[in-house]
């Protein structure tokens, strides 16, 4: 029994990181209609920046995290303004390819600026073990779970109550109509990219604290795809839950079936779910008009 609980809890912990990245993916999809294939790379870049900052300012964990988040705001804005905005109005396929190219650039760029060696992100906190009953969790795992919960609550309130959140929903529903109503789509896109970069950055920092900073940190982005598909590409909250479900599914597959099946467990789950619900668990079905 304790074994099962341990498996589920550590599944939730890793799933929280998938979930955060998946929420960023869904946020961009919801407001701009494209899947950002560079989401994992954004997380990787911020983790590297955090690592550099940690080297410059040892003993100031909050400065490091704060600095990294400022960097992710800049990153999000820069990507939106310099790369994505000029692509407005181009076919979705083309813009998706742009994000793939961006992923290639970020991956190689990180190796160019830093190096291919794995590094430990040591900011003095996050690595200690907290006991929840008989189950041990690292501080950063707990923080990832709490951040995911905060993000879920925050986005729920944001879409429901804030002016920008409502505007974002309007742009998602019909960008032209929203524009006619005086909502600037470009501004909404900038906000979506920035917010998405920030949560990807947070996820990257958690990931780096728990594992390491290395060029293949971007793999975590690949995991968030099943998460967001499971939850529904256009459902920000659903994607967050989807991440947790994928994390737990992986750990149960690894813990009870075979370790080798663990890495593809998420993909098997989404194929099964999509056959029943073609738009994910929480996604909205497109309504076609003839």
């Amino acid at each position: 029994m304790q074994y099962l609980v341990d498996q589920i809890v550590s599944g939730i912990a890793v799933g929280a990181i998938y979930g955060l990245i998946a929420m960023g993916l869904a946020l961009i999809y919801k407001s701009t209609g494209l899947a950002n294939f560079a989401q994992g790379e954004m997380a990787m870049l911020i983790a590297y920046i955090a690592w550099t900052l940690a080297g410059l300012m040892p003993g100031h964990p909050w400065l490091v995290v704060g600095g990294a988040l400022v960097a992710s705001v800049v990153l999000g804005l820069a990507i939106e303004r310099l790369i994505m905005r000029p692509m407005l109005g181009e076919p979705v396929f083309a813009t998706v390819m742009v994000t793939i190219a961006l992923a290639v650039i970020l991956r190689a760029g990180a190796m160019l600026i830093w190096d291919p060696y794995p590094h430990a992100l040591d900011i003095g906190i996050g690595r200690g073990v907290v006991m929840l009953g008989a189950t041990g969790l690292r501080e950063a795992q707990l923080a990832a779970i709490l951040t995911l919960m905060a993000a879920l609550a925050g986005f729920w309130a944001f879409f429901r109550y804030s002016r920008i959140g409502k505007a974002m929903r309007a742009v998602a529903a019909d960008s032209r109509a929203a524009q006619l109503m005086g909502i600037s789509a470009a501004r909404i896109h900038a906000i979506a990219w920035t917010a998405s970069a920030v949560i990807a950055g947070l996820a990257g920092i958690f990931f780096a604290l728990l594992y390491d900073v290395s060029p293949n940190l971007y793999h975590v982005g690949l995991k968030s795809f099943p998460a967001t598909i499971l939850g529904g590409l256009d459902s920000v909250l659903g994607s967050g839950f989807g991440g947790v479900l994928i994390g737990v599914a992986e750990n149960l597959a690894g813990g009870y079936l075979a370790s080798s099946i663990k890495e593809i467990a998420g993909f098997i789950v989404i194929i099964a779910v999509l056959m029943i619900r073609p738009f994910g668990l929480f996604g909205e079905r497109d309504i076609e008009r003839v």
Binding site: Y29, A35, I83, P86, M87, E90, P91, V92, F93, A94, T95, V96, M97, V98, I100, A101, L102, A103, V104, I105, R107, A108, G109, M111, L112, F225, P226, I229, L233, S260, I261, E263, I264, F267, I268, I270, I271, L274, M275, P278, F279, G280, D286, E288, V290
Partner: protein, 348 residues
């Protein structure tokens, strides 16, 4: 000199091209490509072979993504299946290579039907990510079924002997790849001007209208998957033979992305664009290597350990610039150049 497009008969209207110069030049190009391998060094030849194999595979993806509008991120799965479907019977059980090529097409085609089933219900990015999942599952299955595939150890594949002809030298093998690539190109071009090809395009552009025209959407989406997987599988077999060693690691996931980049850069939806895109994308790393070399040894030393990453960055930047400034792809660029050539000094 020809003036304008006047055709005198219906057969003339449906020809691939009614222009004599086009046929003559294509023929000359073909002869040149067939003879060039015997005069090239092995390095240049490896690019030619890669272009021919990649082109075949990209045409396979073109049928699915370009014609039918179904995005696949998992095409590397079909390549892998094709390579293994050739390697297992030929290298492990000693069956004739011709039979191996049949399996290399048929096995992925069957898998294509299975992967195609979700496409009846899924759209756009949902489908794209399902195909991605498929690619991961295929490589997992290949590792798991080690009694058949030798798992992670990989299979060494000899050069084939077909119909009494040996293809052991690279030049001969290039001829084989040329034959396959040209046949594929012809088949895809022909498909484009026949009933099935038009139906696929109809499914892509407007599925409801397509259905009203009597097109069975489900059947045609499955046909697109089947055809695409078949062609891609053959390319996979050729790639395995070229590598002479078939293993999971020889087929990295990036190949799926590269294939999509080829379609985009070439001009989505056009077979000729796919050919242009293939040449461009395969040669891009080499071109950037040369460009980098021109900067001089100073620059090269400065980035002694980073030159490779710089090339990767360049690769990404070129793709973004292309999408940004020439969304019609290389084919569009080619049309512009041709128009400029014909009309100059007038603008139009």
């Amino acid at each position: 000199m020809r003036s304008g497009h006047f055709k005198e008969s219906i057969p003339g209207l449906i020809m691939l091209s009614d222009s004599v110069p086009v046929w003559v030049w294509s023929g000359l190009l073909l002869v040149a490509l067939a003879l060039a391998p015997y005069a090239m060094n092995a390095y240049a030849l490896s690019f030619l072979i890669l272009i021919l194999i990649t082109g075949t595979g990209a045409l396979g993806l073109h049928v699915l993504t370009g014609c039918t509008g179904l995005i696949s991120l998992g095409h590397v799965g079909f390549l892998l299946l094709g390579a293994y479907a050739y390697a297992v019977p030929v290298a492990k059980f000693g069956l004739p290579p011709l039979l191996g090529f049949f399996f290399a097409g048929a096995v992925p085609a069957l898998a294509g039907l299975v992967v195609g089933l979700p496409s009846l219900r899924l759209k756009g990015l949902y489908l794209a990510i399902t195909t991605l999942a498929f690619a991961f599952i295929i490589s997992h299955l290949i590792i798991e079924m080690s009694w058949l595939t030798d798992g992670t150890r990989g299979i060494t594949v000899p050069r084939p002997r077909l119909l009494g002809l040996d293809f052991d030298s690279d030049a001969r093998f290039a001829n084989l790849c040329l034959l396959v690539a040209v046949l594929t190109l012809f088949a895809v071009l022909n498909l484009g001007r026949s009933r099935v090809g038009r139906a696929l395009i109809a499914v892509r552009d407007n599925d409801i209208a397509a259905r009203a025209m009597g097109i069975n959407l489900e059947a045609y989406k499955l046909k697109a998957f089947l055809t695409s997987a078949f062609v891609t599988g053959i390319a996979g077999a050729l790639f395995g033979i070229y590598l002479s060693f078939v293993s999971i690691e020889g087929f990295p996931f990036l190949m799926s992305i590269e294939a999509l980049a080829i379609l985009i850069v070439g001009g989505l939806g056009s077979a000729l664009g796919t050919v242009l895109g293939t040449v461009f994308i395969v040669l891009l790393p080499e071109a950037s290597r040369i460009a980098f070399g021109l900067l001089g040894s100073q620059a090269e030393r400065l980035f002694s350990l980073g030159a490779h990453e710089i090339r990767s960055v360049l690769y990404g930047v070129v793709i973004i610039l292309f999408l940004r400034f020439e969304p019609r792809g290389l084919l569009g660029l080619w049309h512009d150049v041709r128009r400029l050539w014909v009309n100059w000094p007038l603008r139009y």
